[in-house]
């Protein structure tokens, strides 16, 4: 607990981390509190006010079906952030497990797992994702599964590398000498010492995943209407980008600003959590 408190305090002192955290906080809070923030329904159409430019009652305008764009973006944040978070969580779960086992077991287990990783990394990722999504009936759950299941390989490699270094540390040797079980050594002596790298990589992965999800939805392969993610909103703006410019513009801005915020935080975490320097 204290660890987190100190980390937050340190992050707050770092300017770019502070900006990143503020952006993420604004987006996350508005996503969570969506119904409280807007009087409009995200999916109720009113064609009489379709495609209206930004105005006092609709600060970011309305979309082609007369839905308040700001409302759509706020609700879209739920989907985009939700998918980004859940898919990343899944990738971290798989990647960490594979990396831990691979690095600690060594030998043929390590060999097989790492060859699988090599093969999976050998395919162009977007192509595989498109294929997998195309072959299934897209839903939020399926997208999370596919994105998560295809993004864990780098984490597995990173964690494996860490484990190989940590395995040789004297505190692990001490644990081995004490006769502590392999499972406990892995979970209590090795895993906690890899969390720093995992945190950094996972943070950055959330940003990447949000972009990939937006690309899928933009291509019509992701979240299906009437539900909105930022990608589907950009997609709708494609129909009349000149006259209804606000639709794609604001949805695009939402993505860019959010991903920048996440990357700012991720990069600061990287320099703060330099795993070789954390002992002091």
């Amino acid at each position: 607990m204290k660890d987190w408190y100190y980390l937050l305090k340190k992050l707050w002192r770092d300017k770019s981390a502070r900006i990143g955290m503020l952006i993420i906080a604004v987006v996350a809070v508005s996503a969570l509190a969506a119904p409280l923030l807007t009087p409009y329904e995200p999916n109720t159409q009113d064609l009489s006010i379709a495609a209206q430019a930004p105005s006092f009652s609709h600060p970011l305008g309305t979309d082609l079906y007369g839905r308040d764009l700001l409302t759509r973006l706020i609700y879209g944040a739920r989907v985009s952030l939700g998918i980004g978070l859940c898919a990343t969580l899944l990738a971290v779960l798989i990647g960490t497990t594979v990396g831990l086992i691979s690095g600690y077991a060594g030998g043929w287990v390590d060999n097989i797992l790492m060859r699988i990783v090599d093969v999976l990394l050998g395919f162009p990722r977007l192509f595989v994702i498109l294929l997998a999504v195309g072959l299934s009936t897209p839903s939020v759950k399926i997208i999370i599964l596919i994105l998560g299941a295809l993004s864990w390989m780098e984490i597995a490699r990173i964690v494996r590398g860490e484990v190989i270094v940590i395995r040789e540390m004297l505190y692990v040797k001490s644990a081995v000498a004490l006769g502590i079980s392999k499972r406990k050594i892995l979970l209590e002596y090795i895993l906690p010492n890899t969390t720093d790298v995992i945190t950094v990589y996972a943070t950055l992965l959330i940003g990447t995943t949000i972009i990939v999800e937006a690309s899928l939805s933009f291509l019509g392969l992701g979240v299906q209407p009437p539900d909105a993610s930022w990608g589907t909103i950009i997609n709708q703006g494609r129909i009349d980008p000149i006259n209804a410019w606000w639709i794609s513009t604001f949805a695009g801005l939402a993505i860019v600003i959010t991903v920048i915020g996440i990357n700012l935080l991720g990069d600061s975490l990287r320099s703060l959590l330099n795993p070789r320097a954390d002992q002091n």
């Binding site: 540390m169 001490s174 081995v176 004490l178 002596y189 010492n193 002992q279």
Partner: protein, 281 residues
């Protein structure tokens, strides 16, 4: 030859042990450089005995210790623990080593899991049946910690909140909590002030008397060895150039290198130097 009766008294027997490391050769990658860290070493440690190993930096002391622990594979020779071969890393051999031997490593900063509080670090050395009962476990952890002169205020600390000397003492407490028959100490007091050194020396002597503990202590400090050890092995370039009882070694050193060590008074110098590391509280 060792008689049957003697054999039971022998705890550790090292025969013709050699250890070498392979290192990348900068000039010819096909021919790795071989570093012979330990060469043809023989040593017998009897139960209840304290054997010291002295020698300059790089002479192979830590390598010898790591091999006894089963962390480094010997290139030749054998190690017997209570008469059983433990130099090939079978499950059984490693089990025997873990049951009877505990190390305190040279580098206290690296020897504690940075993410584990001191209380839990020491608790991990206690048997499962004690760990299951929270209050008994807490009490025992505290007891072991206090043996080494640390107090309850350190229980909740993470390793980085302790000084090097304090970490070293936590490691000693942790090793003792496992109640090993043989304790391997690699420069155990190097970061301690004189006061704590005396406390620890007394502690080891007390445990030796009460539990018939056996110690193998590495130090380059001959003076401390005089207090602690029954016998001393002098190591140079991977070889034991002389093994003798303390009195004999100090009275009539056989090997030129031993004479050199004695003459240099390394003990005094080291003690003085180290006591500056941590001021007595």
């Amino acid at each position: 030859m060792v008689t049957g009766q003697n054999r039971t008294k022998t705890l550790l027997e090292v025969n013709n042990l050699s250890v070498s490391y392979q290192r990348q050769n900068e000039f010819n990658f096909l021919k790795p450089r071989i570093i012979e860290a330990v060469r043809d070493v023989n040593l017998t440690v009897r139960k209840g005995e304290t054997v010291g190993i002295v020698g300059q930096s790089g002479s192979g002391k830590t390598s010898f210790l790591m091999t006894i622990l089963g962390f480094v594979k010997p290139t030749a020779g054998e190690i017997l623990l209570q008469g059983e071969t433990v130099s090939s890393p079978t499950r059984q051999a490693l089990g025997l080593i873990r049951k009877h031997i505990q190390p305190v490593f040279q580098d206290p900063d690296g020897s504690l899991n940075p993410h584990k509080r001191i209380e839990l670090a020491i608790a991990d050395a206690l048997p499962a049946r004690i760990r299951r009962n929270k209050s008994i476990c807490h009490e025992q952890v505290l007891q072991h910690l206090q043996l080494t002169g640390l107090g309850p205020e350190h229980l909740n600390h993470f390793p980085h909140q302790l000084s090097g000397g304090q970490k070293q003492r936590v490691c000693i407490a942790r090793a003792l909590a496992r109640e090993p028959g043989l304790l391997l100490l690699d420069e155990p007091f190097s970061a301690q002030d004189l006061l704590v050194q005396f406390l620890l020396i007394e502690l080891l002597a007390e445990l030796k008397k009460r539990l018939r503990m056996t110690y193998l202590i590495i130090a380059h400090d001959l003076r401390m060895m005089r207090v602690l050890a029954d016998r001393i092995a002098v190591m140079k370039n991977g070889k034991f150039v002389e093994i003798n009882t303390v009195e004999k070694l100090f009275r009539e050193p056989q090997h030129a290198y031993t004479k050199e060590l004695l003459a240099s008074g390394s003990g005094l110098k080291t003690n003085f130097h180290n006591s500056a590391d941590e001021q007595p509280k």
